[in-house]
């Protein structure tokens, strides 16, 4: 699977992981690679994230792939797309045994952009700031 952007790292194969990865993005279909490619296009910092898709994977395989991604990258933040999604379920089950790892679900592009721009900030702290801006970014116009 590829979105044509060479700087977007996609797993299920986590053998080669950029050293700069600060967070994992997991979700349905091409959600993760797509949203990371948008981060790359806007900020040039797509390499801060490792993408993972649940496509074709059972729950155990999702959990195993995410665990390897955490081990390989040392990332402490996982972003997922949907609160009820299988990636979210797998992460919630997995982080019971991984204190210090944070799950953020229901993400949007504003959240990842803000997180990506805080490269010098501890990732856990960066998440809190980014969350506030992500929530504020959703608006209805013209109604």
């Amino acid at each position: 699977m590829s979105d044509g952007d060479a700087r977007v790292s996609i797993t299920t194969d986590t053998d080669v992981v950029p050293a700069t990865v600060r967070a994992i993005v997991a979700g349905h279909g091409s959600f993760s690679s797509g949203i990371i490619s948008a981060v790359e296009q806007i900020t040039g910092r797509g390499a801060s994230f490792l993408a993972m898709s649940n496509t074709g994977l059972c729950l155990d395989d999702i959990q195993g792939t995410l665990a390897r991604a955490l081990d390989d990258t040392g990332a402490r933040v996982i972003f997922t797309d949907l609160p009820a999604g299988s990636c979210t379920m797998a992460v919630r089950r997995m982080i019971r045994a991984r204190p210090g790892v944070v799950l953020v679900t229901g993400i949007n592009l504003s959240l990842l952009l803000d997180f990506a721009m805080q490269e010098s900030v501890d990732p856990i702290i960066a998440v809190q700031t980014a969350l506030e801006r992500a929530r504020a970014s959703m608006a209805v116009h013209g109604a």
Binding site: G56, L57, C58, L59, P83, A84, G85, S86, M89, R92
Partner: protein
Amino acid sequence: MPVALYRIDDRLIHGQVVVGWGQPLELRFIVLVDDEVATSEWEQELYRMGVPPEMSVMFYTVEDAAAHLAELQKRPEPGIVLVGDIGTMGRLVSQSDGRIRAVNVGGVHHSPGRVQRLRFVFLTAAEEQGLRDIAALGVDVSAQDVPSARPVPLGELLASTSGA
């Protein structure tokens, strides 16, 4: 429409179930039938937190689900009965006194020993026989991951080698 769907899905409660089926069918309850989850408060809480507030979740063993099936089918609001594997559905159907007329194969993903039949269905020989056994009880078995997809009848599913 009491129980709208009897589904086999190894991801159990996830996006396709809650959103993909849940919204068009206006599901108001999920019956998760799994002997292990039924005895784990933590697992139950995990799944409860994944569903929207308008949807309730019940956790049953196969035996309890079979015992409650008549009552579930009388509920006024639509719901779904969800199991994680073919063997569990086979046990439930065999204890249901003919109350289950159709089974949806929604997701059985790759693992060693399984052969791909559809993009979202991989089966061992024993699992194929399990589906045939369910059908032999007069149950309509088809594979369909989301409502907008075409239901693939059991015969076509087992003959498929395309993985399409």
